[in-house]
Symmetry: C2
Subunit: 171 residues, 2 copies
């Protein structure tokens, strides 16, 4: 019952990608370096994001990963689904139908109430994640960041992109 480590990695990666100008991307190596993570492993997770249609890729020099759609259209649930899959945490194997005291005349038209309860909990969890987008997180993070941190970020991105970079608020 533990979320994959890659969820945290890719969520932060998407957060970084969301502040780039449209059409501009960053390589897996750069995205890993930014948070001091293993480059190869980060690349593996980013491939999962691409398979899910969250990011697009370009090969060759100057290529890399960029968001495939607006940051307001990328939810945390999308990222979780891309990395860990969309299966429910609780998977009912209908053990109530097994056992010695189940006769052939037994009927189970009603759903298993244990599975139903876990299903409701799962829906509540997913609803909360679906309601949180990368754009929202980026906005809140920007509002709480210090001047120093912003300057360092701008300088680092300018170096990595090979062109002057300025922070701009995107919807």
């Amino acid at each position: 019952m533990k979320l994959s480590e890659g969820v945290e990695w890719t969520a932060h990666a998407c957060l970084l990608l969301s502040i780039l100008p449209p059409g501009v991307g960053l390589s897996a190596k750069a995205l890993a370096e930014f948070h001091d993570l293993a480059p190869a492993y980060m690349a593996k997770h980013l491939q999962a994001l691409k398979r899910a249609g969250i990011v697009e890729t370009s090969k060759g020099p100057g290529g890399g990963y960029r968001l495939a759609r607006d940051a307001a259209e990328v939810s945390l649930l999308d990222i979780v689904g891309a990395i860990d899959g969309n299966e429910a945490m609780f998977r009912c194997s209908e053990i109530r139908r097994k056992g010695p005291c189940i006769s052939k005349q037994a009927s189970f038209r009603a759903p298993c109430h244990i599975a139903s309860a876990f299903g409701r909990a799962d829906n509540a969890w997913r609803a909360e994640l679906a309601a949180t987008t990368i754009a929202q997180i980026a906005k809140r993070t920007a509002e709480n960041s210090s001047e120093t941190n912003r300057d360092d970020l701008v300088q680092w991105l300018s170096m990595k992109l090979g062109e002057p970079f300025t922070l701009s608020v995107r919807s």
Copy 2:
């Protein structure tokens, strides 16, 4: 991000224990047999329930497992905590503090908004499970069970307990 199989096993086991008269228990072997499960593995999970204080045990002939408190005081969250632990699914490792563009003057007084969002989702999930008790599930299951199923259950329990057993609604 998958719940342990033992959660389903022990939830159904608690459901069965909840309809027994006070002070009466069932052995791990019988609880496993009832749903056609591996006895040794079921015993392992039941030990986890005991460590969590959900069930009590008695050794020797006639002994076994019984609920340590009223079924209305046992929630699905208690069971999940006993089997899978109480740690949050998302564990923030604060990677935002790592990396080359974090200077010594950087300040992170505000919490990580990604971790906050996952924390809210976790709380929603746990709240739903905490609000569902074994007693509620037993009540709903009883209301939806057929006459045949109830008779088979009564007969099986009478045999296992070695004394006549009758179904009674408990709060």
